[in-house]
């Protein structure tokens, strides 16, 4: 082996570098190179990180849903759904509206116990396959999706087609004789409540872990303001 391949000492003074002092291991050239790289990285992150945060920010934004009035109690029967136009998103005109199908709690149909928030059953029109709007067909007593043929029974449970879970629901409450619609929640095939998920995300089995909910969107109706 020639001298070239001998391992160099890590001390600059051993390597006969001019101006080296004892115990120094980083050459000045190396120090300057590293400093320049670090300065470049700081400058780049100074514009990249804020831009990234700006783009990702809405994901973590606290989302407060308000209770909205959908009409007097007398509007809703126990045997048939009444479609109500509701405001899903503010400030975007018609595109922000959606439909909720509402009826009175019916002990002959509904299996879950009655509580403060389900005197009226409000079902979202968003199909749980991929989010197209379903329509309730009273003659068939089914919710039917026009896009890919999803069918739900009168409780909103999947009766056929590709949907992966029953239709989402809204909390409802009665104030001064009027029905109010609150936050949305998702349900699995036993109608157990879960934090809202997007369509296409199953909640049975390990589904609830594979499709985590947003930290900013909970199923607790008391999270909402008056």
């Amino acid at each position: 082996m020639s001298d070239k391949h001998q391992t160099k000492s890590k001390y600059t003074s051993d390597r006969q570098i001019p101006g080296a002092f004892e115990g120094e291991t980083v050459t000045r050239r190396r120090f300057m190179t590293t400093t320049t790289h670090v300065a470049g990285a700081v400058a780049a992150s100074a514009f990249l990180l804020p831009a990234l945060g700006f783009a990702l920010g809405p994901v973590f934004e606290q989302h407060i849903e308000k209770w909205q009035d959908i009409g007097p109690e007398g509007d809703f029967g126990a045997d048939d759904y009444t479609p109500k136009t509701i405001q899903v998103t503010d400030g975007i005109g018609e595109a922000g509206r959606g439909t909720a199908y509402v009826r009175k709690y019916n002990p002959q149909v509904d299996s879950q116990p009655i509580d403060e928030y389900n005197h009226y059953i409000a079902i979202s029109s968003s199909c749980m396959h991929l989010g197209c709007p379903v329509q309730y067909v009273p003659a068939a007593e089914r919710f039917i999706c026009p896009c890919h043929g999803g069918v739900y029974n009168v409780e909103g449970k999947v009766a056929g087609g590709p949907p992966v879970r029953p239709l989402d629901r809204y909390y409802t409450r009665v104030r001064h004789g009027r029905v109010q619609l609150g936050p949305k929640y998702s349900v699995n095939s036993n109608l157990d409540k879960f934090s809202p998920r997007d369509p296409g995300e199953p909640l049975d089995g390990i589904g609830q872990y594979l499709y985590p909910s947003r930290p900013t969107l909970r199923k607790d109706p008391n999270q909402s303001n008056q």
């Binding site: 994901v59 991929l130 197209c132 997007d198 947003r214």
Partner: protein, 273 residues
């Protein structure tokens, strides 16, 4: 003086006849003034020469344009260029559509209606962009099929295949983000469905949805977000990747079609035997 060995020196070349070899000008002699026609003819050469002297771009242009290509190169080899021209057409028509388009949820549909019904040639340019997008996707796949069936993805061109796949994905993202922009019923619901398909990816799906929609629901900023991705973020990335793709094509050369046989030199074969 040492004696030179007895070697044969090559004869000097025959001097060219005087008519082809004009006598050099005497120093100080006046140059004949070019006629206006001659000056006009030389202007282009002069301008190109001026730029080339300062940039040496002609070498790069020659390297890029005058490449050796294998025998048997055929029309299938033009699919890549066709895809690039489809992209250029999308870029140009897109820029002009952006002059009228307004990416706000309340104005978008109205501005597209204005482009289609009132702006001069608006429907034509919009149609070029709309149908051109489908043409581009089809050409991308044909180009990909050519590369695959001709085995042109093999060593040393694997990296170019990878860049090509990235371009395919970006083209798909372009189609997805562009589909929302007319903001009619079809684009609205198609985007809802498309975003929810993204959401079915385990673990990352829900977060990807939130990023695309800028929130848990289709909201006020979703459209402008799609618009910014569609017309600012992706075109630059695609153009840069096309540059890299073309550089590798020029550097590595194109492959011969699989049915082409290497021509053996008769003399060489005899030598081998």
């Amino acid at each position: 003086m040492p004696k030179l060995p007895n070697i044969k020196l090559p004869k000097p070349p025959v001097p060219p006849p005087p008519a082809l070899n004009p006598a050099p000008k005497r120093p100080g002699a006046k140059k004949p003034k070019p006629s206006p026609v001659e000056a006009a003819q030389g202007a282009g050469t002069h301008a190109v020469g001026w730029i080339d002297e300062r940039t040496s771009l002609s070498g790069a242009a020659r390297w890029m344009m005058f490449r050796k290509i294998p025998k048997g190169t055929n029309w299938f080899y033009t699919l890549g260029s066709a895809t690039m021209f489809a992209f250029l057409s999308q870029a140009v028509t897109g820029v002009f559509l952006a002059m009228y388009y307004n990416p706000s949820v309340t104005q978008a549909y109205e501005s597209v209606r204005y482009i289609n019904n009132e702006a001069f040639l608006g429907e034509f340019v919009h149609g070029m962009h709309k149908w051109g997008s489908s043409v581009m996707v089809i050409l991308v796949f044909l180009h990909m099929a050519r590369t695959f069936f001709f085995g042109a993805y093999k060593y040393p061109r694997e990296l170019n295949w990878v860049i090509g796949v990235a371009l395919l994905i970006l083209t798909m993202v372009m189609s997805f983000t562009g589909y929302l922009l007319p903001f009619d019923q079809r684009s609205y619901w198609a985007t809802i469905v498309g975003v929810n398909i993204n959401g079915t990816g385990p673990l990352v799906g829900p977060y990807l949805n939130d990023f695309l929609r800028a929130g848990p629901f289709f909201g006020a900023t979703t459209l402008s977000r799609f618009y910014a991705i569609h017309m600012m973020l992706l075109p630059g990335v695609i153009a840069a990747l096309i540059g890299a793709h073309l550089y590798l094509v020029a550097k590595l050369g194109t492959t011969a079609p699989p049915w082409a046989k290497a021509e053996e030199d008769e003399a060489l074969r005899e030598e081998q035997v």
